[in-house]
């Protein structure tokens, strides 16, 4: 009985202010779509970094006079570090062979070099590319080590760009979400105004404040939820129709747009959760100063 009453009231309110309801719903949808975009961007950057990180390794070039003992010390020290996945020793000869292999079309590069002209090195594969600077620092100046190199700069740059992009888009979606909450609040305020007579009588005959509030709260919640579902639907459709085919259409991108179902679901859950939050925020904004008596 109560639930039927609440739902009937909510629907009536929404219908009475159809235009404001549409405005509120679409603002929620757009701002949540932006938020969804931020999340997708995050997933893309995550994929890209994963791609790059797989290629990151730290190379410690050894002095030519490094002793067998020093090399073994280094190797065992490194393999005991939790950040290190595994360590490979590359001798001078192996390094020269690799170089030859890499430049087989330009024999002039290596013909003049002797097999011992390139330094031996330890190649260190990490559990996470983030540790590269740390490991590099630890190796710098260790006995037997000449120089340390790692391809971390590009990752650092990528993460920085990602950070900036995320911050900007996040700020935009927060601003839009606040606007959405305001619009929802306004929609509800209009609904309250349209029904002030009824509300007065409800108070008069002893309806509790919660009883009066619930239809209005449901209204805000409903507007936000519809907005969230619209934006969620668009994100889902974009994934199904565009992203999942992008890998095939543009193979050079690599697996950048391959998202797991879990990833997409968590984005959708986030959108709906934030939508509900915005709806509640807007409703309570509108109801805060109302029903004082």
């Amino acid at each position: 009985m109560r639930i039927v009453y609440f739902l009937r009231e909510t629907v009536t309110n929404l219908r009475r202010n159809l235009l404001m309801t549409i405005a509120a719903v679409s603002t929620v949808a757009i701002s949540l779509l932006l938020l969804g975009g931020v999340q997708i961007l995050g997933l893309v950057v995550h994929n890209v970094t994963l791609n790059w990180e797989a290629k990151v390794e730290v190379s410690a070039f050894l002095r030519n006079d490094a002793t067998q003992g020093e090399i073994q010390d280094l190797e065992s020290r490194l393999s005991h570090m939790p950040q290190v996945q595994h360590v490979t020793y590359v001798s001078q000869r192996q390094a020269f062979e690799e170089f030859k292999q890499q430049n087989r079309d330009h024999p002039e590069f290596w013909q003049a070099l002797g097999p011992n002209s390139l330094p031996a090195s330890l190649r260190i594969k990490l559990t996470d590319a983030r540790y590269a600077p740390e490991i590099a620092l630890a190796l710098q100046g260790a006995p037997g080590v000449q120089t340390v190199k790692y391809g971390g700069d590009i990752i650092k740059r990528l993460l920085q760009v990602n950070q900036v992009l995320r911050t900007v888009t996040l700020a935009m979606s927060v601003i839009l979400l606040v606007a959405a909450a305001g619009l929802i609040a306004n929609t509800i305020r209009l609904a309250i105004y349209a029904r002030r007579e009824e509300i007065g009588i409800m108070k008069l005959v002893g309806a509790t404040n919660w009883f009066i509030r619930v239809p209005f709260m449901l209204e805000g919640l409903f507007a936000a939820l519809v907005g969230a579902l619209v934006s969620g639907g668009l994100v889902y459709a974009a994934n199904e129709l565009v992203f999942s085919h992008l890998g095939n259409a543009l193979p050079f991108l690599g697996p950048v747009f391959d998202f797991s179902t879990g990833d997409i679901v968590s984005v959708l859950v986030l959108l709906v959760a934030v939508g509900v939050l915005v709806g509640l925020l807007g409703s309570s904004l509108a109801l805060r100063r109302f029903l004082e008596v």
């Binding site: 009824e198 009588i201 409800m202 108070k203 008069l204 005959v205 002893g206 309806a207 404040n209 009883f211």
Partner: protein
């Protein structure tokens, strides 16, 4: 049933609506509160439903001390106190039945109770045939009956009426007074604010007269004015 102890109400800017008002009304009494406009009648009624808070003094309604009644309990107080106003306060887009049912629905009464009590009370106020009419299809007297039905459908202990005949012609007013009298006879305490001489004089009930917010007379079986 209703008791005020040295109650004063001062609105902002030093307007004294009520000064040192002490009233004691027993269960089942019928009391007129009379006095010219601005004498504090409406303020007294607003204090009794906790729509306004007194500046000083204590108020007891239906056994509750309103001074320390928490805000969330106020709706439950109002379920024991029916209210009728000069302007009826009916919802124009609801039928007679729906207007009265509304008063029960919004305090969470089940549908079965609504279906049983609403026709009963409308029969009592003499509108048993007009359940499906809208307020603007009724005369003023009939509209006031609907409003009384809504105030009384929940069987409150107290009925407060603020100038219920203020918008009605004398003949119609008599009908409303008969109805209030009948409600009073069911044991409901009735407090009615009015400045209608004829009604007060014909009923011969207790009269409390206010002037400038002060009680100048409290007389059982009184008439409107002594010497006016």
């Amino acid at each position: 049933m209703i008791k005020t102890v040295n109650v004063s109400k001062e609105y902002s800017k030093g307007v004294h609506a009520l000064s040192d008002v002490s009233i004691d009304i027993a269960k089942g009494e019928f009391v007129f509160v009379v006095g010219p406009s601005g004498s504090g009648k409406s303020t007294l009624i607003k204090l009794l439903t906790k729509e306004e808070e007194p500046t000083a003094g204590e108020i007891y309604v239906a056994g509750k001390n309103l001074n320390n009644l928490p805000r969330w309990r106020v709706p439950y107080l109002r379920r024991n106190v029916g209210c009728v106003f000069q302007d009826f306060k009916l919802l124009p887009n609801k039928t007679v039945f729906e207007n009265v049912a509304f008063g029960l629905e919004v305090i969470g009464r089940p549908r079965s109770v609504v279906q049983r009590q609403v026709p009963q009370i409308l029969e009592l106020v003499g509108l048993g045939e007009k359940l499906d009419r809208f307020p603007d299809e009724l005369s003023g007297g009939e509209q006031q009956r609907v409003s009384i039905a809504r105030a009384f459908v929940n069987r409150p202990l107290i009925l407060l009426a603020d100038e219920p005949t203020g918008n009605l012609d004398p003949a119609t007013s008599v009908g409303i007074m008969r109805l209030l009298d009948r409600i009073n006879r069911t044991g409901t305490t009735v407090l009615m604010a009015t400045h209608d001489h004829a009604i007060v004089d014909s009923m011969r009930r207790r009269v409390i007269e206010l002037e400038d917010g002060m009680i100048v007379r409290d007389q059982s079986r009184g008439i409107y004015g002594v010497g006016t």
